[in-house]
Symmetry: C2
Subunit: 321 residues, 2 copies
């Protein structure tokens, strides 16, 4: 058994190669560029952990992990185009650096390359892995579409937002673990508990992310606190506040969102606190974390094998940065 950190080093070493041909450079340099910007590589390592929970790591699991990380970067390239985002990890986004058309194609070849890695795995698991990969890839796209649809709405119901977050973020975490478990020969029941662990952990992670953007310690958080508030982004906090606020407070909040006063962040935070959105979010996060941990406990392997996943859960959800 290995820790997250050990598996990360292992994966990073194997992943730090050029994944694309050299020519035409105008196409493939832009694909390779985003991989050089780094990233936490959480998803591919979760694939390896899902495998190791049940058995020694199957060499094919590295191909699947690579496909997962390439897919994640494909979605980042295309999402950044749609969101017109200028920066990613503090560096210019692919479209900002190479133009929108090249970025679009760079994402396309990144997605195609995922399937080239998946095609390397043994026939024994290929159909099942491809099926899960495709299902997840469609769901992530659905999540991105819903996110864009919701941006145009003034109000979004909490259930709708939850569904969007599940699709856009959580299912890929669940599927990464699940693909690893399949490579490790796990039974159907165990595989499904692991998927639910990852999915619910993903929701808890997103609640934490929304919380930190509003209430995080600026020094530890590392980026501008209140970014979501400035952008009027629908978050767990905003949606809940709009749902529970009394009419007068709700109108004040909507007015602030429309008029963007200079003290916007401070005033929105005050309204969120008046509605106890901060305490509510912490509780909601704990609820989903508990569901996740229950599913982890249900998996029929020796408890000590689950230790790395418990540590991962704490790392993802209890982090303050």
């Amino acid at each position: 058994m290995h820790s997250f950190k050990e598996l990360l080093q292992d994966f990073d070493k194997k992943f730090s190669v050029r994944h694309f041909p050299n020519d035409p450079a105008t196409l493939y340099d832009s694909s390779q560029y985003i991989l050089g910007l780094g990233g936490k590589r959480v998803r591919p390592v979760m694939c390896l952990m899902g495998n190791e929970l049940f058995d020694e790591i199957n060499p094919d699991a590295y191909h699947v992990a690579t496909a997962i990380e390439l897919f994640h970067n494909f979605s980042l390239i295309h999402d950044d185009i749609m969101d017109k985002a200028p920066l990613r990890r503090g560096m210019p986004t692919v479209h900002a650096k190479y133009g929108e058309s090249s970025a679009l194609l760079a994402g396309d070849v990144m997605l195609i390359m995922c399937y080239e890695y998946l095609n390397k795995i043994d026939d024994l698991n290929k159909k099942r892995i491809l099926s899960l990969f495709n299902k997840t890839a469609l769901e992530v796209s659905e999540g991105q579409q819903l996110d864009m649809d919701y941006e145009k709405k003034e109000m979004v119901a909490l259930d709708d937002y939850l569904r969007m977050i599940q699709l856009k973020t959580s299912v890929l975490l669940g599927a990464s673990l699940k693909m690893g478990a399949v490579m490790g020969g796990a039974s159907e029941g165990n595989v499904n508990h692991l998927y639910e662990f990852g999915k619910n952990l993903g929701i808890a992670f997103q609640i934490q992310d929304d919380y930190l953007d509003a209430f995080g310690d600026p020094e530890k958080f590392g980026k501008q606190v209140g970014g979501d508030i400035i952008a009027n982004k629908k978050t767990f906090l905003l949606i809940h506040t709009l749902e529970v606020a009394e009419e007068q407070l709700k109108q004040e909040l909507l007015h602030i969102m429309q008029t963007n006063p200079s003290d916007k962040v401070q005033r929105v935070l005050a309204i969120m606190k008046a509605c106890s959105a901060d305490a509510w979010a912490k509780e909601l996060k704990e609820k989903y974390l508990a569901i996740a941990m229950d599913h982890l406990e249900e998996i029929a392997v020796l408890s000590k094998r689950k230790e790395p996943l418990r540590e991962l859960a704490q790392f993802l959800v209890q982090r303050d940065h």
Copy 2:
């Protein structure tokens, strides 16, 4: 054995279903929309013909043919975004109708769905088919990138243009036939001759396309003659004319291209004719058609089995519309 027309009816019937989930409609309706605009379905039918050249049609060949047609439509959606094209088959392009972000995602899910169809085929052929599909998909993307790169250049060498056309257009025709042949259990040698047949036929087809845009009969052509000239598009005709024209004529041509006079089409056509670009293009087309037909003759099956492919070649390359 079936004719192209019979196989087209057969494929069209199977393909005329909804290929995507209903929800979210904002995502999947835009994907389904382009499939409703029709198209000649040449590529999927070539896949079926490649199969039937060697054996009765393998039911899996319909899955591969469907993936090929979806891939073609994926590339149209994304190319139209890059080219900022307002119309496709006389109707609004996907991005013109649904917005660029939705069109981008519609293309993404179309590409993912290709692999869902490819995942349906038997393990026996899956690795080889996926490998060829991925290689071709990367090549088509490379062709689109080169096309964009060349748009920014004043002069493009004929060899470079040929390479771009091969990647953007021809390899998918060759691969469609080849995938069919693999499904039909053809030997490696036969498979490769069929691929070369399709690839060279694709080049001849593109030369014909460029020729018709300039010298076609407006009544038979069905769209504006001279569209490529108005857009200063690099075509076989323009590249050859710039290569062989004497200095004075060349400068006149470049001047017309820069200044866009009202009689632009007429004047450019006169210069092309003065350089015998029309006769040269016809000869070049015949050259590639002959190479294609030589490869077809090399395939070790009864000559009469090749009749539908001979008819297809005539249809694609001798058409005047």
